[in-house]
């Protein structure tokens, strides 16, 4: 289980996270929703080690992650699909996948996992030779997810994977999230698309200006009046 306790993070004087508590039980899909600037990306970036925390703790199976270098967090099995896809534009699709497996040395297993990612995203196999920068937005998102899977994560954290994608493609991404989860990967999903996120989530948190204001099962929050009003009412894109 990934456990975050009383986490405080600030940028200069700006306090982005002000005592966040959050748990991601193994095997579940956990979603974190919140408005722009609530601190969602900051949380993921802190877990990965890209941002230093002021105080608090982040443990995975009781191992403290705070203060560990970024590659060690990945070695613990926690991978991130960053906000805005961030594929390596001038590497090919295949190379992007290989970079995802950078820390691994088991060549044969890596080869198997490439096939696994291809089976999840047949489009990537068709385009394995193409430079990632020339892929469509949806394909880049698939690649970003596939690349993160190449590290064989136990926990996959995704930062707004549906951002800027057409509804049909978004549906595809959510289907994949469910599939990946069924194959044993724990998912921590950040979304502005609260409706869809809450529908697939086992557990959901609402983050508002750096504090968790609500938590419950996906279904509970879907039915919650204040959530309906703030996040589901008008179809915000």
């Amino acid at each position: 289980m990934l456990k975050i306790k009383d986490l405080h993070v600030s940028y200069g004087g700006i306090r982005a996270l002000r005592g966040v508590d959050l748990e991601v039980p193994d095997g579940k899909i956990v979603t974190l929703i919140g408005a722009n600037g609530a601190g969602k990306s900051t949380l993921l970036r802190t877990i990965s080690g890209l941002v230093k925390a002021d105080s608090g703790s982040i443990t995975y199976n009781d191992n403290e992650l705070l203060g560990k270098p970024i590659n060690k967090v990945l070695e613990e099995g926690i991978a991130q699909v960053p906000e805005g896809r961030r594929v390596f534009a001038d590497l090919t699709v295949l190379e992007n996948l290989k970079v995802g497996a950078y820390l691994r040395k088991d060549k044969a297993e890596i080869e198997k996992d490439i096939q696994w990612v291809y089976s999840l995203f047949p489009r990537l196999e068709e385009r394995h030779w193409q430079l990632a920068g020339t892929l469509s937005g949806g394909e880049q998102q698939m690649l970003a997810v596939g690349r993160a899977l190449m590290s064989r994560p136990k926990v996959l954290m995704m930062d707004e994977p549906s951002l800027g994608l057409a509804p049909l493609v978004v549906q595809g991404i959510f289907d994949i999230i469910r599939t990946i989860n069924q194959q044993g990967v724990t998912v921590l999903l950040i979304e502005q698309n609260a409706n869809m996120a809450l529908k697939i989530a086992d557990l959901a948190y609402v983050l508002e200006t750096g504090v968790i204001t609500k938590t419950g099962t996906g279904a509970e929050l879907l039915a919650d009046e204040s959530i309906k009003e703030a996040y589901l009412g008008k179809k915000k894109k």
Binding site: N71, R86, F88, V99, S151
Partner: protein, 295 residues
């Protein structure tokens, strides 16, 4: 009117000079590609490599000193990165540039202090200066070895970057520091490798250059360094093929201009005029990536 052999001779010497600029330019362009830093100290690393050879040869034969020079230069390059650039990793880029200028002067002053500011004769490596006759053109071995070795090293480097794991990591880091880290790439290692390669090539260039030139002095790194830097910008800084082609163009043009009695004094000015012209029409250089600011 001159004979054909005269022009061939000029061309050959241009190619030789161009090769040396290319070897140095790769160091500039790779470091820029990864760190977006113009390593102003690079020309001085080249100069230091020259002095390493001079001082090592007081106690051993040049052939034994040669590998040591390569190793010491590589260590110097990596140490400079660790001491002067790494602590400023998150500082604004201008601070790192200023640090680089500081290192450049430090090395020059250090060399001046140790040598008393005097030029030192560069040890002769046996055989390298012998000349051979190719038809009507007579050339020395340096002229032949320099381009061949350069092309060979460039090919190896390109293969390394395109087909090895560390090469892939370098390309990923040069594109996106942060995401590369998320993939588990230790950027400090990648940066060290970049400085190792750059310093190694500068050391190779120093041996070839000073063997031809005959002496080393504390400020000697400045001009070749600057020309190589221009070559890197000319070819599109960040691009290795760009730096190599830019270096050859500059080397050959320079060789022809230097041969012209009226214009020879302007040969350095010419280099910069050429740069300005290219940048007017192609702001990113011949092969430059679109200057996307680093995220």
């Amino acid at each position: 009117m001159h004979e054909a052999s005269y022009y061939i001779q000029l061309l050959l010497s241009g190619i030789t000079v161009g090769s040396l600029y290319a070897l140095i330019a790769i160091g500039y362009t790779m470091v820029y590609g990864i760190l977006r830093l113009i390593n102003f100290a690079h020309g001085d690393i080249f100069m230091m490599a020259g002095f390493f050879m001079v001082y090592l040869c007081t106690g051993m034969s040049p052939l034994v000193a040669l590998p040591l020079v390569l190793i010491m230069t590589v260590i110097l390059g990596v140490l400079i990165e660790r001491a002067a650039y790494k602590p400023l990793r998150t500082a604004p880029r201008m601070s790192v540039m200023i640090s680089a200028i500081g290192v450049s002067y430090l090395l020059q002053n250090l060399a001046t202090y140790v040598t008393g500011g005097l030029a030192r004769a560069y040890p002769e490596i046996p055989g390298l200066k012998n000349t051979i006759q190719l038809g009507s053109v007579s050339v020395n071995w340096i002229t032949i070895i320099t381009p061949v070795l350069t092309i060979l090293l460039v090919v190896v480097l390109v293969l390394l970057i395109n087909h090895t794991k560390i090469g892939m990591a370098m390309r990923a880091v040069s594109r996106d520091f942060e995401t590369a880290q998320l993939m588990g790439i230790k950027i400090n290692n990648v940066i060290s490798v970049t400085f190792i390669i750059g310093s190694f090539l500068a050391a190779v260039a120093s041996v070839l250059y000073f063997t031809n030139y005959g002496q080393v002095s504390p400020m000697i790194g400045a001009m070749p360094g600057l020309k190589a830097f221009v070559a890197a910008v000319f070819g599109g800084i960040g691009s290795i093929p760009g730096a190599v082609i830019g270096a050859y163009i500059i080397g050959v043009c320079e060789s022809f201009i230097k041969a012209n009695e009226t214009f020879s004094v302007f040969s350095n000015a010419f280099t910069f005029a050429l740069l300005i012209c290219v940048l007017l029409f192609r702001p990113n250089g011949l092969f430059g990536e679109k200057m996307t600011e680093k995220v």
